[in-house]
């Protein structure tokens, strides 16, 4: 397991949907998320996201870990957020299926999102 992999997430301001920082911009697919291996780069991206107040709400970093080579959020809260409601598999990004979605659905355990706790503290 690689130490301290991060993904940057937020909600789209106008629509509210969950979005992730991708290599080129922002995407509503977790599969497009850019995996930050460098803490300084992740923090810089977070600062930029906080400045993007016209398009984003509540950006924060989440922890991910490589599981069978796929980046999976370590907290079940962030996995549910990346997938959509578990009671409605047809809703949210999970609807498109695929190996990564399955990896998130099958992942177990791990702690709650440290990124979210930071967000709460900030408020």
């Amino acid at each position: 397991m690689t130490a301290s992999l991060k993904v940057l997430t937020a909600n789209d301001l106008a629509g509210g949907q969950v979005v992730f920082r991708s290599g080129t911009g922002w995407s509503d697919r977790y599969a497009d998320a850019w995996i930050f291996e460098d803490a300084a780069a992740a923090d810089a991206a977070l600062d930029a996201a906080r400045a993007a107040t016209l398009t984003l709400a509540d950006p924060y970093l989440i922890d991910v870990a490589a599981v069978d080579g796929l980046p999976v959020p370590t907290s079940y809260r962030e996995r549910i957020r990346a997938l959509g409601p578990t009671i409605h598999p047809d809703m949210g990004p999970q609807a498109e299926g695929g190996a990564l979605v399955r990896a998130l659905q099958q992942a177990q355990g791990a702690a709650r999102s440290s990124g979210r706790l930071g967000l709460i503290r900030r408020k």
Binding site: N11, G15, G16, P85, G109
Partner: protein
């Protein structure tokens, strides 16, 4: 049913125009998120786990067919085709876009609906009896007083920035269907020995991380002084309630720290010093409000309906009639309860098509009235027993005829971590698993009244503290675990439940409930509900049932 006058209409229109302007300024960057968030919340719009959520008020749980159709339209046009009825008699739409919200609110206003008093540290939507105007034993129509409170509290300048949110319940029946004793203020309408109408005033109940059953600070407040006395309570709270600690800001903490007697004394002091005639409602306005309810055009019917009795030959209808229909104050009528707890379904969810069908049934057979219960069900309060078979048929066609009111599968569950940004654990899948476990309707009926209430976090939106069996989702070392409590009640015999033992993993909860029920069936005495047996025996046999093969806990 209360109808808006020109002032009500203008107030809602002004508010919607103001919020449209605020949304516009947020989207163009004139307002920052920090500036905008409190404004958005004052209009019922939350940012949740996956999306924005709009909570629409259903004042004291009363809907008309027209209002229900408007909700269906919102669900279809701006959401994903469904809504979620909450434990506060409101409805939540879980997939609303911020940029659409001004249009949604304008549309809702055409049906006299809004999102005012659904968020923020103000006096929230008043809870009332879903059987109002239909229950035989009620002393007065609680909607009258709920509407009085709505008019008084809406945008009340003195009480818009309270230390914390504030919830009032009004009930007028001996059977409490509002959880009055778990509210910041619970009002129980009573007549005293002289026959004068008044309120038992209960203060300081609440759930959350520090649950309390409210204390009675006045046995019989003369009804005409309701508003001045409420003002006195709110003034004491506004002045002495804690603003330094979010978790100690509710009135229950103030009442508990002062003691109910001292709190009552402070209220009396504030009340005595007040210009009461100025604060209390003029009789003429009360009469106007009262006149707007009670206009139901009931027919004169024989108390026994032959058509109803004949329909009981059908097993499904007989079961529905036993569990979901209760007597009405008018002979020949019944109160039809519509369960939103289909086996394996999401408690409180209702599709747009179901909403439309209910609106049609209410219009055709129910004087156009629909009620929402705090237990996340719906009620057609005025159905002629002759029409009950047709109503049952219509409900069954829409998957709404589950005959389980007050039975084990009629659970409350908050949205939990499937939707809510505050949750620690999911609540809905637990409810679904329990529901499947008790899918056999014969067994559910044999078990009898059993109220299971599930919350996904300690904020207790799922009322777990007052469940006969309460289930609280917790995060235990990064996994979803569930703590069981027993012996709570939100009804007239209100009580806070006691923790049974160590929290259980998600996949053990339904099985544990099964064991609790088996333990109850083995030791119950005639006529005892689960709650009664628990109160008689204490926790012993139940603890043994769940933890006897423990060490796997």
């Amino acid at each position: 049913m209360f109808q808006y006058d020109a002032i009500d209409r203008a107030m809602v229109a002004d508010r919607n125009a103001e919020f449209r302007d605020q949304v516009g300024r947020r989207l163009t960057g004139e307002l920052t998120e920090d500036q905008f968030k409190p404004l958005r919340l004052m209009n019922g719009l939350y940012l949740q786990l996956h999306s924005y959520m709009l909570r629409v008020a259903i004042p004291y749980g009363a809907l008309t067919s027209a209002k229900m159709r408007a909700l269906a339209h919102v669900a279809r046009r701006w959401d994903k085709g469904y809504g979620h009825f909450t434990t506060r008699q409101n409805i939540q739409f879980h997939w609303i876009r911020l940029s659409d919200t001004p249009d949604v609110l304008d549309y809702l206003a055409t049906a006299e609906l809004h999102a005012i008093q659904t968020s923020g540290n103000c006096i929230r939507n008043t809870t009332s009896d879903p059987f109002a105007g239909a229950a035989a034993e009620e002393v007065d129509d609680p909607r009258v007083w709920s509407e009085v409170i709505r008019q008084w509290s809406t945008f009340h300048p003195e009480f818009t920035y309270l230390p914390r949110k504030f919830k009032i319940a009004v009930t007028a029946s001996p059977q409490d269907r509002t959880a009055a004793r778990a509210h910041d203020i619970g009002l129980v309408v009573r007549r005293n020995r002289e026959g004068r109408l008044g309120f038992e005033v209960i203060v300081g109940g609440g759930m959350g991380r520090t649950p309390y059953i409210g204390a009675t600070i006045r046995e019989h407040l003369p009804a005409e002084h309701l508003l001045s006395y409420l003002t006195a309570i709110l003034r004491v709270y506004n002045r002495f309630g804690r603003r330094d600690n979010l978790y100690k800001a509710r009135i229950k903490i103030l009442v508990a720290s002062l003691g109910a007697a001292e709190f009552g004394r402070l209220v009396d002091e504030a009340w005595d010093g007040m210009d009461r005639p100025r604060a209390d409602l003029p009789d003429v306005e009360l009469a106007r409000i009262r006149a707007s309810f009670g206009l139901v055009d009931f027919r004169t019917l024989p108390p026994r309906s032959e058509r109803f009795e004949a329909a009981r030959a059908d097993k499904a209808f007989a079961r529905f009639a036993r569990n979901n229909i209760v007597p009405h104050k008018i002979p020949g009528y019944g109160i039809v309860q519509v369960s939103l707890k289909g086996i394996g379904e999401v408690p409180g969810d209702c599709s747009a098509d179901q909403m439309d069908a209910l609106a049609d049934l209410a219009e055709r057979y129910g004087h156009g009235e629909i009620r929402v219960t705090h237990e996340q069900n719906l009620v057609l309060p005025h159905v002629a027993l002759d029409d009950a078979p047709a109503v049952h048929e219509g409900l069954a066609a829409m998957g709404l005829a589950t005959p389980n009111i007050n039975l084990v599968s009629d659970m409350i569950a908050c949205p939990g971590l499937d939707y809510c940004a505050l949750a620690n654990a999911r609540a809905i899948p637990i409810a679904q698993a329990i529901s499947e476990t008790f899918a056999d309707p014969d067994r559910a009926e044999a078990v009898g009244e059993l109220k299971i209430k599930i919350s996904g976090c300690i904020n207790a939106c799922g009322h777990h503290h007052v469940g006969h069996i309460g289930i609280l989702g917790v995060d235990k070392k990064g996994e979803e675990f569930y703590q069981l409590t027993l012996g709570g009640s939100g009804a007239e015999d209100a009580a806070i439940g006691h923790v049974l033992g160590p929290a259980l993993a998600a996949d053990r909860v339904a099985d544990a409930i099964d064991k609790l029920v088996d333990a109850y069936l083995a030791i119950r005495q005639p006529q005892e509900r689960f709650l009664d047996t628990y109160r008689r025996t204490g926790v012993g046999p139940f603890k043994a049932a769940v933890y006897q093969d423990a060490h796997q806990a």
